[in-house]
């Protein structure tokens, strides 16, 4: 630790304190509020077991929404990322595509959900559309960054044969980035299940609808049922995607490799 590092750390601490003052973040309030949490926690223990059926059904709806959203979103983002990659396109192609993607990314999924509820009405379809938009903005960025880091040697070797650009994409870009794409897709599905769980807050379907309604009416015990189901589901999905990763994405001396077709 030298003098300059100490100064930098001091400035960061000062900034945190100043910002906390501005947003009324008082640690004392936090500790004084702890007993309230205890009340909620106690009420949550009065779990209403009868609701588990409904909870599982709505969780299933949530998973389906996340599934459609992820698959359709990735399917849209894959071609977009090909146009956004700097090593495949001229500036006139990648710059506008990147600008559009950046604009799409500025909206969090909950804002997309509000927008689509206005557009197509309350219900899961609005949620699916929101997840698609969010996935496109996010995955396309991950994908074009992956494509840009592809090894230049196979690209040069194959393009020196004089193949078309689409052949280059099909035989070099996709196979070389496939392990990353698969892993991004799993990550996104995982993330989308969590996201979809809260989209119900704005009436865009899914399990969040029940959670927010029971909390509104102070029925924490009922809300708890739904929260437990979300927790267990997320853990199971985490575990499954870990298994898929282990099976299809093996590490070799070259880094990540995919063994699937």
């Amino acid at each position: 630790m030298n003098q300059r590092n100490n100064l930098v750390i001091g400035i960061i601490i000062a900034l945190v304190v100043a910002a906390s003052y501005n947003v009324d973040a008082n640690p004392i309030d936090f500790f004084e509020g702890l007993p309230n949490l205890a009340i909620v926690a106690e009420e949550m223990t009065q779990v209403d077991a009868e609701l588990f059926g409904t909870a599982f059904l709505s969780m299933f709806e949530t998973i389906q929404m996340a599934f459609i959203g992820t698959i359709v979103g990735v399917a849209i983002s894959l071609p977009l990322s090909m146009f956004a990659a700097r090593n495949l396109n001229s500036k006139f192609v990648y710059a506008p595509v990147r600008a559009i993607l950046a604009a799409v990314r500025t909206f969090p999924s909950i804002l997309w959900a509000i927008l689509f509820v206005i557009m197509v009405g309350l219900g899961p379809f609005a949620g699916v559309l929101a997840i698609i938009m969010y996935t496109v903005g996010f995955v396309a960025k991950l994908q074009y960054e992956t494509i840009e880091t592809i090894d230049a040697d196979p690209m040069d070797a194959v393009s020196s044969i004089g193949v078309s650009k689409w052949q280059l994409i099909r035989y070099v870009v996709i196979p070389e980035s496939a392990p990353h794409l698969l892993s991004q897709m799993l990550y996104m599905f995982d993330y989308n299940v969590r996201q979809t769980s809260i989209l119900g807050l704005v009436g865009a379907g899914g399990i969040g609808f029940y959670i927010i309604n029971y909390i509104k009416f102070f029925e924490y015990g009922k809300a708890a049922v739904f929260m437990i189901v979300v927790l267990v589901t997320v853990l199971i999905i985490d575990w499954i995607s870990l298994k898929i990763r282990d099976k299809y994405i093996v590490k070799s001396q070259h880094g990540m490799e995919v063994t699937a077709k």
Binding site: P154, S160, W166, Y171, E176
Partner: protein, 276 residues
């Protein structure tokens, strides 16, 4: 080991009139500070096995990249079969289909199988729809399998490229180049890291293809001995300049400082010497 590729007078005249690669005072640089190649003059006849040797960093790989249009010279002219190598030149792009290029790093697609990597060499012959869905005609697949067994990879067609040894990877890159049915083969140190036995096996394979297809091979070597053994001409590059070009015929070595001699002149000298 060596064979003269010209046996009858008729093929002799056909070959000597065909300059397949001509470089005239070629300079090139990667940055504005220094030149990687300085004033290179090279003239290669069809069917020649042309070797380029030189120390590391002397500009050998750069020379090959100029020949297939992956790089363009900053000064001077290059003609490959009377076309200027440039990826934006439509006519040259068609020629690229027939220029097999084996880069120093090989450039295999590690997640594709040996067979798929080989079939990439046939992509220029494949339609749009077929290439999107990886539908290769049966005869192309048979051809690829034949080439793979020729390079000693029979039975390993379905292996992923990343599961291969260094020597096996080289053979796949060679198979991919052969799959192009090339008229020109550019090979960058493909045998340098191999043991003598394997290196000779691969060199014989290329010599054999040369005989069959009247292929022009331009090969970068680290080992002068290997170059002398297989090449008709050997160019020595030092710090971006061609300091020596040797014509090799049979066991005879004739030394030409400038390298401006034609195969005909070499042949004449060779026959003069053999008369003595």
């Amino acid at each position: 080991m060596k064979q003269l590729q010209m046996t009858s007078p008729s093929s002799f005249s056909q070959i000597t009139t065909q300059k397949i690669i001509q470089m005239n005072d070629v300079w090139t640089s990667y940055d504005s500070k220094s030149y990687a190649l300085k004033g290179i003059n090279i003239s290669i006849d069809r069917g020649t096995n042309y070797a380029i040797v030189g120390q590391s960093g002397s500009g050998k790989s750069t020379l090959l990249k100029l020949m297939n249009g992956m790089m363009t010279p900053s000064k001077g002219t290059i003609k490959v079969d009377y076309q200027t190598p440039n990826v934006n030149n439509k006519k040259f792009k068609l020629m690229m289909h027939k220029i097999g290029y084996i880069p120093q790093s090989l450039g295999l697609i590690k997640n594709l199988t040996v067979l798929e990597n080989t079939l990439i060499g046939s992509l220029p012959r494949l339609g749009k729809f077929q290439s999107m869905f990886k539908i290769f005609p049966e005869e192309e697949i048979q051809e690829a399998k034949k080439i793979l067994s020729q390079v000693g990879l029979g039975g390993k067609e379905e292996r992923k490229a990343y599961m291969l040894s260094g020597g096996e990877k080289r053979r796949v890159a060679i198979a991919r180049a052969f799959m192009q049915k090339p008229t020109i083969l550019l090979a960058d140190e493909i045998v340098s890291e191999l043991d003598h036995h394997t290196a000779r096996e691969i060199m014989n394979l290329i010599a054999d293809a040369q005989k069959r297809l009247n292929l022009t091979a331009i090969m970068v070597h680290h080992d002068m001995q290997l170059a002398l053994e297989y090449a008709n001409r050997v160019a020595v590059i030092k710090e971006g300049e061609k300091i020596l070009e040797i014509g090799v015929e049979g066991d005879k070595i004739v030394d030409f400082q400038t390298g401006d001699f034609t195969t005909q002149e070499i042949m004449e000298m060779y026959s003069d010497e053999s008369k003595k």
